[in-house]
Symmetry: C2
Subunit: 331 residues, 2 copies
């Protein structure tokens, strides 16, 4: 039989296990023009939280009692489609089902390279493209500038910081545990990493870490951490706003100091974005990321949880800081 995870209830604030439900269905059969897929790796990402609300967002909300979806690597186990053969590994925005059929639209065949396969959910997938496009198109880093990254040990943040180093920036990361902070400097080559949870004076720590101020702030978190960084931006600073994970679970909008006076004073730019805004750059970005990866200039970190039943918990864990790097569920 076939397990399917559906949205049982819209989360109120932080998602909890009871918001999800597992249904049992029959395994479907591929018709002409279709493939039957077996799920291998499931990506869980903070942005999915937004789709669980029944509000206007950049993509349609998930429907209640319907399967959730995310980036998934699956194996073709039956094919009645001319472009796919049994054994192909494919990447797509697929449902949280053990088995599903697809007409192939939106599926991309990926090389079955055992060393890099999960990279297609991360550094060579949406995550890496988000980091690369947001940093280069909005952040426009120049050699010698200072880049601060929040959520720095997360999937996107850890890649942003590494690209910043490759491009010649001083890179400072903010993360929420000693393990993450250690990882940032030892593995991802950040110049300084600050644990915002234990640091008694975040502003002073940032000032020390950024003696020339902040030219680019790649923001994954929003909230009071971002307030501290935004107070130290330089003239003509650029702030790619990639996410606001600290604010996603709030029922009412959280309040903070107005940013407009800082933006005027510093002639600074804040620009929210989705990776899809920069689709015209995906080919260039993929070529560049792959080259850096193969040259050993770019490394990635994954938290891999095993078992289909653990998808909801892995997702919930994102909001508890339980991941280091990309959170992936291996089936």
């Amino acid at each position: 039989m076939n397990k399917v995870i559906v949205l049982y209830r819209r989360p109120a604030g932080k998602p909890v296990p009871g918001d999800f439900k597992t249904n049992i269905e029959e395994i479907p059969i591929a018709d002409n023009g279709e493939v039957l897929l077996k799920t291998r790796y499931v990506s869980v990402d903070p942005y999915l939280r937004g789709r669980m609300n029944d509000t206007d967002s950049y993509v349609a909300p998930f429907e209640l009692d319907k399967p959730l979806q995310s980036g998934i690597i699956a194996e073709v186990i039956d094919s009645k489609h001319t472009q796919f053969k049994i054994g192909d590994m494919v990447l797509g925005n697929l449902s949280w089902k053990e088995y599903q059929v697809s007409d192939g639209v939106g599926l991309r065949i990926i090389p079955p390279d055992p060393e890099y396969i999960t990279a297609y959910l991360g550094v060579l997938g949406m995550t890496g493209l988000t980091a690369y496009t947001g940093l280069t198109r909005i952040g426009k880093p120049k050699t010698g500038e200072t880049l601060v990254v929040s959520g720095a040990a997360g999937a996107v943040g850890s890649i942003v910081g590494q690209i910043g180093k490759i491009l010649g920036c001083r890179v400072v990361g903010l993360a929420g545990s000693e393990e993450k902070v250690e990882l940032l400097t030892s593995r991802f080559h950040f110049d300084v990493a600050i644990n915002y949870k234990t640091e008694p004076d975040l502003s002073a720590a940032l000032k020390t870490a950024c003696p020339n101020g902040v030219d680019i702030y790649f923001d994954n978190v929003g909230g009071s951490i971002s307030d501290a960084v935004l107070n130290q931006i330089n003239k003509y600073a650029r702030v790619p706003v990639c996410g606001a994970i600290s604010l996603y679970n709030d029922a009412a909008p959280a309040m903070g100091p107005y940013i407009q006076p800082v933006l005027v004073k510093k002639s600074a730019l804040m620009h929210g974005f989705l990776v899809s805004d920069f689709a015209d750059q995906f080919n260039e970005a993929t070529v560049q990321l792959t080259a850096w990866l193969k040259a050993g200039k770019l490394t990635y970190h994954e938290t891999i949880v095993e078992g289909f039943d653990h998808i909801p918990n892995a997702f919930i864990g994102l909001f508890e800081g339980r991941n280091e790097g990309k959170m992936i569920v291996k089936i």
Copy 2:
């Protein structure tokens, strides 16, 4: 003798007359390479408030007991400078003095056209350049888009709205009195004008005024008015942040809802700017603004206060909404 207005005390919150003091000095004499100037028209502008604080800003703060400065049109009444002759009208960032000498650096000779002379402090000066560059470089208006302007009856706002109309936008203005609202639609051709002070439900009024949402929000005010507009921006909206007059007098940073989630959801851009950021566009802008002005496509409105002694009160009046359009003191 020569009257000179100095900063006597840094304002705490809203400026008051006691923050300024008038000194009496001798009228200076022009040396070789200098001109003696008689002040004719003084521009007072909200941004001067920022320079009255002793804090890091985009320009050096005014010094205590030193003359204040702003955009001034003056007449050359004596010249020992080869590039200026007696009777020339010049524009420059000059001191609040009845008479002053200058070495000519930064002075621009303007045509002594009686119809347009004060326009060089407004629509053909910094104000018009601010409106033109901020709207075109950051707002990037396209025909059929909806442009909302706050502080719409102010010097910059009224020009922004008119340029928006010339470029084919639907233009909605926010202002704080019935007279201003009336002026926006009758004289400046705004499609809709809303009195935010008397409107019981600003969000609903904006929704009615902007049936297709907001593509560009040219923000002169910040604060809760801006919150209401930012909640209705469209995907890929652009927000030139020109000023935050509602927040300039606050001692502690005012609080409002975090904007990051909206920016991410809408892939929207907020960009603070100073007119000097776009100096490369001044020639093009001046040619275009002059052409529109002479063709009767662009009109401007001034509040003219008479008398050197009234400069401080005219400045204070900006924060009480006492001006319609550009506030100018005629000497």
